[in-house]
Structure formats: C-alpha cells, structure tokens
Symmetry: C2
Subunit: 520 residues, 2 copies
Amino acid sequence: MLIGAQWVTGTGPEVRSWDPRTGEPLDPAYHYGGDEEVARAASLAEAAFGPYRATDSATRARFLDRIAEEITARGDAIVQRAHRETALPPARLTGEVARTTGQLRLFGETLREGSWQGARIDPALPGRTPLPRPDLRQRRIGLGPVAVFGASNFPLAFSVAGGDTASALAAGCPVVVKAHDAHLGTSELVAAAVRAAVEACELPEGVFSLLVGDGPELGTRLVTDPRIRAVGFTGSRAAGLALVRAAAARPQPIPVYAEMSSVNPVVVLPGALAARAGRLGADFVASLTLGAGQFCTNPGLVLVLDGPGLDEFLAAAAKAVAANGGATMLTTGIARGYAERRDGIAGRPGVTELARGASGEGAACGAAALFTVDAAAFLADPALHEEVFGATSVVIRCSGTEELTTVLRGLEGQLTATVHAEPEDHALAAALLPLLELRAGRILVNGWPTGVEVGHAMVHGGPFPATSDARTTSVGSLAIERFLRPVAYQDVPAALLPPVLRDGNPEGVWRRVDGTLTRD
Amino acid sequence: MLIGAQWVTGTGPEVRSWDPRTGEPLDPAYHYGGDEEVARAASLAEAAFGPYRATDSATRARFLDRIAEEITARGDAIVQRAHRETALPPARLTGEVARTTGQLRLFGETLREGSWQGARIDPALPGRTPLPRPDLRQRRIGLGPVAVFGASNFPLAFSVAGGDTASALAAGCPVVVKAHDAHLGTSELVAAAVRAAVEACELPEGVFSLLVGDGPELGTRLVTDPRIRAVGFTGSRAAGLALVRAAAARPQPIPVYAEMSSVNPVVVLPGALAARAGRLGADFVASLTLGAGQFCTNPGLVLVLDGPGLDEFLAAAAKAVAANGGATMLTTGIARGYAERRDGIAGRPGVTELARGASGEGAACGAAALFTVDAAAFLADPALHEEVFGATSVVIRCSGTEELTTVLRGLEGQLTATVHAEPEDHALAAALLPLLELRAGRILVNGWPTGVEVGHAMVHGGPFPATSDARTTSVGSLAIERFLRPVAYQDVPAALLPPVLRDGNPEGVWRRVDGTLTRD
C-alpha cells in the first residue's frame, strides 16, 4: 500500500493476484489493510485538500502531465505485469497505457483552457431600483477527497490512475484508490508513478494513496469515512449498489458515481439488414468477442426485425462465434460467473442457442455464445435483460416495429444504444432515437459500442443501472464536473477574490459576464 | 387540483388554508387527492415529456415568458390571496411576484442564449492512427417529469411557478407540483396562470399539474412514481430527508434537490467590530427580523471575537431586538414550533438571553430573541448548531482566532457564510475564506445573507444539510443544469442529429468544438 509518502504492508490476510492462464498465484504477496490504513489515508487526503485545491490550473496540469510521463517511463514493466495478472494481450495493454496517459493529458488541457471553473460575474448595479444589485461572482471548487475503486477489466484506464483519478485530481481533489485484487502488481507500479509525480511537483503527500484490502469491508470503511466527499466506482451492480447505499446512509451523504451494468442494445433496421447482413454478422461478433467480451459496452442484445437478410445475418454471426477459439478471462471467478450466466441464458424459456465457440485453454477460459429469442419471450423474462459479463449475446427477433418499440421501452438504462440504418431506414431511426436517448448515454449509428473514445464530446454514462448518476460521464473532459460544486461570492473585495473571478480576467479564461460568454 | 387540462376536486379529507393573523380557516375548502391523482398527473407528464422536450429553445422561452405574463395579469388577486394566507405584507408579496416573473424570464433568456445545451463536437479524424476517430457530438437533454414541492415561506418564488418549476420547464421537463397546504388559494391562482400559458402555447396538457394532498403520503407517492425522474423541494430537514430516502429506495433511484436547513453564520472580524459596531448590531437585527425571520438565509449565528466594539455591537443588537414589535408567522404550527425551539435555546447550558422582542398579536405571532454563548459551550452542544426557523439568533463569543476557526470547522453545511471585515481584517478573512467555501454555497463580505439575487452568478445551495446535493443551485440560471444529463452521438448522420449539433451551427449557439468554445 502507498499511504501518502509511505509504502506500507498491511497486517491483514495475505492476498495475491493470479495468473488467469495458469491459475497460479503470483509473487509478491500483498496484505490487506484495514480501518487504520483507511483512516491514515483519509486524514492525509483531508490535510492535502486545502493546499492542493489552492494550486492553480497550470500547476495541476503539470502534475497530470508528469503522472503521464512517469507511467510512460514504466510502460514496459506495467504492460508485462498487467499481462500476467489479466491475460489481456500486450498490444491491448500498450494501447491502454497510451489511453491512460492521453486521458491524463486531456485533463491537463482542460485545466489550462480554464472554463472548467465555470466563472460567472454579475457586476453590481448600485443604481438599480427598487433595490441595488450586489456584485455576484461564481466559480466551481473541488468537493474534497475522492475514493476511487478500480475496475477489473481496464487495469490501467479505469484503475489506479484511470479516468476517475484523473478527473478528481484535475478538479483539485486528493484521491484514495482501493486497488483491485486482480491486478495488485500493476496497481503498485502505477501508484509508484503517481507518487513520483507528487514528489516531483512538490505537492502534499496526501494528494494520492493506494489501499489494498477486502472489497466490502475496506471499501465500505473508505466510503463512510467522513473525510471522503465523493466516490468513483466501476464494477458490478451488486458492489456498486452496496457503495451507493453506504454513502447514502452516512450522516453527511456524498455523491457516488458508480458505473455498473449495461447490455448495450444494437438495433439492426431492415434496410441495413438487407444491404449488408453478412458483414454485420461478422462485425457484430468481432465487437462481442473483443477482449473476451469483458467490456462495459459489449453488445449483449441485438434487436432485429424478421425480414430479408435476417437468416444471412444470423448465419454469419453464428459462423463467427463457432469459429471463435475462446479467450482467457480476467480471473477464474469471472470465468466461472460468466459460464454460469451464459448457461443460465441457454436454459431460459424460448431461448435457442445459435452457436457456441471453443473454450480455449486454462483456468479462466470463456467460450463465446450466441442465442436467439422472440420478443414475447424476451419481454416475459427479466433474466434476459441483465448483463452477462463476457462474450454472450442474445438476438431478439421482433415481428414488426411495434414489437421492437415495446422491447426498447422495456429496457433498463444503458451506457450505449446502437442503430444500424441505411438511408431508407432513417424515418424509422428518427422515431427510435428519442426512445434510445432516454435509455442510454451514447447513441451510435452504423458502428459497434466497444471502443470508447477519450475526448471532449464522449459520454460514458447513462440512466440507472448503467450508472448510479446519469448526470455525468466517467470518460472525457466533462468528467471533471463530477467532483466540483459552485460557490458564489457576494461583494467580496478584489483582494479576497479567487484570481479567476477578478476584474480584468487575469487568467484569460472564458467567463459568463451578465449572462454573456466572454474572454474580456 | 389541476391535472393536465382538468380542474379536479379530490375525494380525500377537506383541507383549508388559514389566516395566520386570526387563526380562522379560509374559504374555499379543498380536498386531498391520493394515489389516483398522482398516477394521472404522472401519466400525463410522461406523455407530455416526448413532445415537450422536442420543442425548441425559442418555443419554451415563449412559454416561460407567457407564464410570467399570466402571473402578472393576476398579480393583484395573487397578492391579496397570498397576504391572507401567509400574513406576509403586500409590498413584500408584490416584490415576490416580480421576482417570480423575473425568474421565469431569466430562464427564457437562458434558453435563447442556448449554451444550456452544452453542445460539444469532436469531428471525425478518419486518418488518425492506430485507429480512426469517430465523429462524436454531445448535448444535454431533460431528465423527465419533475416533482416540485413548494415552500411555505415563499408562496410565489419557491412555490407553484417558482425556481424549481421554472428551471425544470426550461430544461424540457414537465412538472407536477404538490401545493403547500398553507397557501392553497395562492397555488390555485398561480396554477391557473401556468395552465393558461400551456393552452396559449398549444403545449401538451401534461406539461403542468398541481396536486393537493397529505404531505408525507401523497408526497412519497409522487416521489416514488416510476414516471417521475427528479425532485425539487424546499422545506424542513425532516421532510427533505424523507423524500431523499424515498427516492433512493426506488428500483430506479432519482436525484432529489432538497433545500433544507441552514443557520447562515456571520463572522464579524475585529476591525469591522471596532469601526462600526453600532451600525452592525442594528443591520444584523434588521436582517434577522425581516419576514419574521422566515428566510432560509436568516442569520442564525454570529461569531465575534472578544475585543473593542463587542459590547457596543451586542447592546445595539439587543436594543433592536427589544424594540421589535413581533410579527405574524406563516402558520400557527410554524409559530408554535418557533417558540419551542427559541425557548429551548434559552434553556441550553451556557446560553444567556440578551434580549427578546414583543410577541405581537394574533394566533401565529412570534417574538424575536437574541442569545449569547461562549465558544466552548457552543461546541459542546449540537442543539445550538441546528436551524431555528424564525427571528432567533445566537452570538458566539470566541476568545481568539483559533477558537473562531474551531467553531467554523465544527459547523454543518450552509447556504451562506458572511464575513464583516475592514481592510485591516483582510489577512484573517483570507485565512477564513477557504474554510467558509467548503461549508457554504455563497460567501458574502460586509452584507447580510437575507436577499437572494436572481441572476446568472447566484448559488443558492450548499453542502449537506443546507441541501441534499451541493453540486447545484436552486436560484439563478445555473439551476437549469439540475434537470439535464449529457448524451453523446457517435457517427449519427446529419439528418438524424438534433439541430444544435449539426454542422454549420444552425442555432448559432456557443459550442465546444475539439475542446474550443466557438460560435462558428
């Protein structure tokens, strides 16, 4: 564990990450921490919050850039270790390192651009009747120390120095990360990179800590520590909801941004099906089996209308699934859970198994599977609406647009919703889009939902249970807003105002003056 | 009750508003509605949501302006009725009508300006390596039907067509209001104004409904109706927390914006005390007794340092309180609760009563009161930290800046925090401001917290328990963001994109293109 400036070994039970290909435990052994470690990390984070949030945007941007540099410098070691712990291919992990450092740099840019502060000025109107108007200015400030829970499926981009950490640090909030047991060694390497950046930038040690501990126990302790003021989480619905409940039960409740569960419906409209059924089937399965199906945005449901091209689409998809050689999943537990859920789907009423891939080898292998069901059977069976974490998907055959609409209306909140459409489908697509908008954070046309671009316009979020808070995103520069709140300053003398709100716009950022955006 | 286009009388128990001056019930009698009325209003709201959110900004701005016009046209009747129901002076109520219509027009302007939509565009980069970048665009859309609970103390500005209703309607969300029992007649008049605007603008009837019913019962029913997607509330801590809990326990939890409880600390620094003690004492009591002390931003705590001017300040404040003739409170229940809390404060250990005003006449009269206590006794007694709704304030005498800081650190979240400071106090003020920022939504210097300007830079909100969600404001144009969430569109053809995201910027609004704000 890293608590502020100190590397610490817990006094709790031993824990190791495992090689999912062999099922063998990996060196070194780690030890769980407990209440004491949570308290020390939270206390250091609280102490760091004041000086850290007082740093200017440029200082924090340099810090984020430096973390990116430190990660890049350790890139080979990180990829090697992450490969052993997760069985994800080195090329994918190399890409994920680049994505993680790019994400940190994006928040650096966002800080330098400056409008994240949400500066607003309504100048005084001393002559206004019946009452003069005071001078009112507004900016956003950080919420306080943030607890971050890394995800198993992105050991870098959604973990120790992933999106939640980057956006919280950008917002001026110290971060306490709970390492995921499945990649403890990777977590340690990345924590060392962050620590090196803290030191190089001469920031208070409490800006960043990494804890190792029992998920429910240490996690709950962390989320209920009064010094923690917000939570970022990516993981299962059950674990996410437990944190949401723990946070809501605090004497002072705090926001929890939990990304939990999504089946990412894909609607293939008749024109698209008729025009490119074979290609669609193959592309669909490529998206489904990418990364052993272990993406939050994995296409778990495909909605099709009976008609020309459907048989060809199903045949192409079935062929691709059958040809799939299987893949090593992240952990043996995940592989076991996946197999149970997949085989559970196979046994539901009205479900037909179209194809199953090979199992592959090793302790954590997962075989892809493809099922079909008609709309009526799908609508009658809530079990089919739930996420299967892995390369399993269900094609829902709808008799017409009315049934298609009914199925879409019955879906829970999603991270993504995709439509495949040719120009002749646009009228139908236009009718469906409002439905999809209300159920998903991202709408795609003629693409596949896996692959989440890190940029300014991305939304990786969506209505419950995709996330616990649909008003936000966990990927992209908008995520900085999750850890901020507005504060107004009334008639505060210039000497006491934060620089961004002073006359003359010393930071040169966009501000809303009397309601109008300006850089004057 | 108004359910969509229909005026309906409930079948539940009779309920009347009362004249708080006489304690007499007022005509007409109303009747509580129940589950059936909630279901009908929610169902109409859900049906209206689709077409209503599809209207453009200009249409919704005209609608808000029209509500303002309809309220203005009924202004005399509204003021007359509200005066009978609340005992608030006609001049104050006339001002509140203007504030309410001004608030509606402010959201109209906000809609026309257009950046509320949060448009962001990251254009495709087909040549990027290793992977091309898709075309990604983002905007914000409304959450869905919103339940609004009016406050007793602002029968217009925080009630049927108050800030929550205005911001939700601006965001494209239909509104179902639960009328406050204390001003049913005023609620009916204002609902008629909104209904007239709905009709004049040819909007779907479900855009607005007004329900009358038992607070805990109908309120809970409304908040747990699956068609309601967010809640705005202003009122007591107990009632607010009950709604927060009910919303969190839904199968699909929803955001609750509850403004609940604040004691609004005022810190008088030594230079200010020495320079203008008498004036400060008189101004403080004027703020304290305004509107019978029934403001959310009423100054309930004053922190002073022992030193020159303190005796004069206390004497001036005590004199003003003693000279206060009392005032009729909003309801007999509020007056009873106020007297109990005030007299409870009087009996706490270490508390000295400095002055008490006259009781005034009538069933709902309240006498102002001023107490002092030393910092140690205050810190030891949680009862002194809680809001007293009415004209009671406690002056905390601190022996030095360390004790002052300790008291401030021990305070809960607040709507406002005020500092009185002369230039020689600025060093101390600068040290205190970061503490206050973390505990309040608005910082004032050399003013008094009562009086909440409606503008772009206002924050009326703050950390728990001031509100249930500090990331937002209930007053000012930023409030529109409470009822919005972001949606991203990936590779969506121009014909299917919402206009605000199309190439060429057809709406001419500010958009963030590749991270840069532009109107091009």
